[in-house]
Amino acid sequence: MSSLVIHAEALSKSYHHFQVLRDLSFELEAGVCYALFGPNGAGKTTLLKILATVHRPSGGRLMIMGKDVVADRDAVRGRLFLVAHGSHLYDELNAVENLRFAMGLRGLAPSDRDIKLALDRVGVGAFADLKSRYFSAGMKKRLAIAKALLARPPLLLLDEAYSSLDEKGIALVNQVIREATGAGTAVFMTTHDRAKVADVARRAGVLRQGALHELPLTALTGTHELF
């Protein structure tokens, strides 16, 4: 069985007459973390949202685990999980209820113990009964990561994974990525912080004027400008 999780061919995206992405072709294998860089407005989030099936590509072909993202959207959606910039949390539900609801819609029914373990793991176990409206941005990000832990998807998409997080939170994200890739999950993430992602990324790329350029891993530890 092929270990290819993402296969993109001549992918493009335009909003009206503005072309955000042009002719993107790349592949991502299972168990690999890919870090995507680019200046503001380069199209990182757009690409991530195309991978997450939020947006449709304007052209080209995108297969996720052998399924076409346009023709076979629902099958693709069951195989990925997006930790987005928005927390995807309901303010009136507490942490446990938010996790139960998110997993329920994925057809999963985690036990009380699994939920407690996930909340403890991301460091919000003490706030399990607190409505998420009272959570700080960092705590919301941690709760979103707890959802990803419970979902265990073959493809994990992280948008600005380190934003709002403190040092422990950043270490937690990297640990989660290490464990996920170790278990065969492909991770595709956007970030601005190459030093933080250098520990976990096995591939990296930069979006410049809508085109994707593969970066050597040494670029992550260097100090020269990426774009």
Partner: protein, 225 residues
Amino acid sequence: MSFFSAIRWIIWKDLLSELRSRENFSSMLFFALAVILIFSFSFSTDQEAVRELIAGVIWVAFGFTAIIGLGKSFAVELQNDCLEALQINPIPKGAIYLGKLLANVIFIFSVELLLLPLFVIFFNLDILEKLPVLLVIMIGGTLGLSALGTLFSALTVQIRAREVMLPILLLPMAVPVFIGAVEATRGLLGGAPFAFYRPWIDLLLVFDVIFIVVSFWVIDFVLDA
């Protein structure tokens, strides 16, 4: 993922959120109370006018109260980009529609049940014997309004002027529901024989089915557009 399980999760989430915030409930109740009070002062000395117009007054209160609730149905999903999460969940979009629809029906019907005693008090109505049929008409009317309102709430959620657009789209389309509900209620409260106003109840239920089927059919396009 079970279709019915997804519906249950959506209903659970929507009702629990509303029970805790009571945002919609308060505004709906205040609006309906204002309508009832204004009409009750207008008709205070004219029982003949009350008999003639009470069905319309009831459905003006119910209809516009429902619009307040329906407007928030999908708008609450904009918070924290929850709509995005709903869209990319591996569940049929029809399950999201039916879950939202049923949560709206339960919620709006509960508000209507609270308003009913106020109509009895302010308009001196005798509805005890007519209550079972009145409840059927109320459920039929609420279902029709919610079926359309839930669809239009999804359709307008991403546009800036959604609060204005929802009633503009909903009210003309809901005319058959209002006609059926008002005529059936007028026949019932006026003491007409059941056979006299039954066709209006039938009309109401037929439009309920049409609106639900059509909305269920197009919701996939609306939510993914």
